[in-house]
Amino acid sequence: MATKKFMYVNRKAPYGTVYALESLEVVLIAAAFEQDVSLAFIDDGVYQIAKGQNTDGIGMKNFSATYNALGDYEINKLYVEKESLEERGLTEDDLMPIVWEDEDDDWAEKPSIRIVSRAEMADILADQDVHYSF
């Protein structure tokens, strides 16, 4: 079977709805099929990977740490839209420093987050074979 390009498009903040958690679980399950997987964080989706999330006050599981495990699942293309960050008064520094370890480079840590413009994001989305929207 030829490898296909799978894109998971995340557009919602975490916790208020179940979309973010569902997306993450589907991504982890689908990782077993060894396809070319990318994640896009657009609009409120950027809050999913904001650093310093603390859910003690709302009694829900804080699943933000799990994004740091994506590298272990060979998922290391996390595209974040620059305009979406700016509209929300955020910068890359407000995001978790998600990395992956390159086995072929003595397990060197490399960044998984790639900040792209809205125009670049449009091209990246157009380049995929399959899209899942959350």
Binding site: R11, K12, A13, P14, Y15, G16, T17, D43, D44, Y47, A50, K51, G52, Q53, N54, T55, D56, G57, I58, M60, N62, S64, S84, E87, R88, G89, D94
Partner: protein
């Protein structure tokens, strides 16, 4: 007859919050919960709309929802009051009516 408006949708994703601001009147209170909590952050494309509303309305945000989304209290708009669940209950009791903008 003051009213408490409860918003739970992000102002960046849907127009429910904008619609709330367009329909609230002077003396009303607005409480941001769940995904709406991100609307409390200053320096966003939405913050000027909320600041304009704050001229004659009281605005609150549920602290737990803000923290859950990684937004610390020091980055919210000056004048927005952070409340906990007990404060949420107090607001519903203090106001004559409540309207949710879902």
């Amino acid at each position: 007859m003051a009213m408490l408006h409860i918003v739970n949708k992000s102002p960046f994703e849907r127009n429910a919050f904008k619609s709330c601001l367009d329909h609230a009147v002077a003396g009303d209170s607005i409480l941001m919960i769940e995904d709406a909590a991100v609307g409390a952050v200053d320096g966003t494309v939405f913050s000027s709309d909320l600041k304009a509303a704050m001229a004659d309305k009281s605005v609150y945000v549920l602290g737990g929802d803000l923290a859950a989304r990684g937004m610390s209290e020091d980055r919210i708009i000056d004048g927005i009051k952070v409340v906990d669940y007990a404060g949420f209950v107090d607001l519903t009791a203090e106001n004559d009516k409540t309207q949710s903008w879902v």
